[in-house]
């Protein structure tokens, strides 16, 4: 089945080559980082995690988002999702691949990666994160591949795959919960020490993953003969909308607790992110944009007339995707380090090689997704002809 990825139009190959070019530039930057050390990034003694870990966190969420299609399809037999659920699972595969790469580029001694397996340490949340991420990758490969294979042959999904499908539901929730625990369990970082971290992570994940799926499905309809039921897309859009509302609501909870209690430590990082602290405000523009985009996305997706127009729909889901990307993929991690344990401020800005490495990991994700979608589309097109 995979061989279908090798038959494509010149445009398809052009896109693949474009991605490969970006990946090679990023790879060169990574070699440069390997040779000189992580000092070539914008990270510092005070801001010891940067864009790599932030993006890792975000894409764990995108991966978990697939479950928003799996639940209606397999628990509620919502058949409108039957044809598109595999596209969600393929997003999960690409996103988890990116997560693993973001970890690899972030660690100082990548050659010692296997130490995590050689010295399993159950009191570290990173240990569980490794288990759940790799498990989730495996589950989605098994489920995605086999359901698609069965579809192609016109057979129902084989019985032995079913347990994996059901398992993927709690598993998706676990990957993002454990990722939230990386942050929510450390003392002394005020922005992170919050019980709503995991719920908020899940809410923003269930907004971000499906909004990416909508954008991709709309695009895929343009470039192939595969037609998606508009009602299915509308349902996904509603999911995005509700999840984003919950996300923004939980964010409001954070603001209320910090500002009404007046506890300086709780206010400081929010102040830094949204208003600037002691003259340091390099993220304020981004965070405010994210806030506005979040509300805009909710508004567009909430009003049926707008949601039903594809142009508005794209604007809505793109806003949600960007809003969550900035909020979780930048602000959350950096904000946790500001102010530092001495209540002073060191700011962070990513360097060129660091950004290139991150972009090339995006390109790897896009490449994995392209190949998987190509396969899935060719199967769907065959079905439509038949």
């Amino acid at each position: 089945m995979i061989e279908r990825a090798l038959k494509g139009s010149p445009k398809y190959w052009g896109w693949v080559i474009f991605l490969l070019a970006i990946i090679s530039v990023g790879f060169l930057c990574y070699l440069y980082q390997l040779k000189n050390g992580l000092g070539i990034t914008g990270m510092s003694r005070d801001i010891s995690w940067g864009v790599y870990i932030a993006q890792f966190t975000y894409f764990v969420g995108v991966a978990a988002g697939a479950v928003m299609l799996v639940i209606p399809k397999y628990l509620h037999h919502y058949q409108k999702y039957a044809k598109i659920v595999v596209f969600g699972e393929f997003i999960a595969i690409a996103a988890v691949t990116m997560c693993l790469l973001f970890i690899v580029v972030d660690i100082g001694q990548p050659m010692r990666m296997l130490n995590v397996l050689l010295h399993p340490t159950p009191h570290s949340m990173l240990f569980y994160d490794m288990i759940v991420l790799n498990g989730y990758l495996a589950i989605n490969i098994i489920v995605g591949y086999n359901t698609l294979l069965a579809d192609r042959k016109g057979l129902p999904c084989p019985g032995w795959v079913k347990p994996f499908i059901y398992l993927s539901i709690p598993w998706a929730i676990s990957i993002h919960t454990v990722t939230a625990f990386l942050y929510a369990g450390v003392p002394g970082r005020h922005l992170w020490l919050t019980a709503v971290m995991a719920p908020r992570f899940l809410a923003s994940a269930f907004a971000a993953g499906p909004s990416l799926l909508i954008m991709l499905l709309l695009f895929v309809q343009k470039v192939s003969k595969f037609k998606v039921d508009p009602e299915a897309i509308q349902s996904v859009a509603k999911t995005v909308c509700y999840a984003m509302i919950v996300n923004m609501f939980l964010m409001f909870m954070e603001f209320f607790t910090a500002y009404y209690s007046h506890i300086p430590g709780h206010i400081a990082p929010l102040e830094y992110l949204f208003f600037g602290l002691h003259g340091h405000d390099s993220l304020v523009g981004f965070m405010r944009f994210s806030m506005v985009a979040g509300f805009l996305g909710i508004f567009v997706l909430l009003v049926p007339a707008l949601r039903r127009s594809n142009k508005w729909l794209v604007l809505g889901v793109a806003s949600v995707f960007l809003a969550t990307l900035i909020d979780k993929g930048v602000g959350l991690v950096i904000g946790g380090f500001i102010p530092n344990p001495f209540e002073t401020i060191t700011e962070y800005s990513a360097t060129f090689p660091e950004i290139m490495i991150a972009i090339s990991i995006w390109a790897v994700g896009a490449l994995v997704l392209t190949v998987l979608y190509k396969v899935a589309l060719s199967v769907r097109e065959e079905q439509q002809i038949a």
């Binding site: 000092g39 003694r45 010891s48 010692r112 340490t121 990173l126 490794m130 002394g188 380090f337 002073t344």
Partner: protein, 273 residues
Amino acid sequence: MSMDRREFLKAAGLSAVAGLGAKGAFDLFMPGDVDASEHGGHSGHGHGHGDEAEAGPKIRLAMAIDVLQLKDHSKVDKIKAACDNAHNIPHWDSKDDEVKWIWEDEYEHVFPDTHNEYLADEVRELPFLLMCNHCDDPPCARVCPVEATFKRPDGIVAQDYHRCIGCRFCMAACPYGSRSFNWFDPRIPLRAEGRKLNPRFPTRMRGVVEKCNFCVERLAEGKQPACVEACPDVMIFGNLADPNSEIRKVLRKRVSLRRKLELGTKPSVFYLV
């Protein structure tokens, strides 16, 4: 190195424990068996309240820093230099790349949670020496995915440079900013400075985390930590679990502060004011 560093650290720790009581080099340890001290060695739930010091482990190494003595600023420099030389700590130009084990800062930054705008001028201007607190319940060790940083039975939070994968989770988890990462190869500035290196302590490689180790390598040889040797009137090192140790005596007499006690990490570094 033929011996695994971690094994070495363990062996060194045990020999220090076993050897010192007999030698009586200084009043660090209560005579007592090593196994008993393992009790309470791992992450601290189930600690009863009440008389914790007596109910806990037999050895808990700690440092008291007589901050008033540091008005004489030359002592600060002397202490820092002693540590730098003992551990081949590189000096970087940029604050971002900095590696430091012991350094000074003012009250306001050391105790940000007890910020007091009416603080006595004298205290406000004192140079407080910052170092790893060797917490009794160390979050850094809790989060490390490979146990490259771990709490020893004697209370020292040690760091294994040969196992650390450089994920920097411990840096995010330490609420005291005690940890430094080798963003670049630390041997570059060491070489550039032309410093005389201490052959008894390894230089590190890039990509691993490091911090104060209470001079575990010197303790193993029956010596005091380098900072204590440099200024014994400022740095008082000893066994907190022994009610008759010098550190316990001074803590009974003087007012002491510890950093961010509300976090429950139970720091083993005390500031005498």
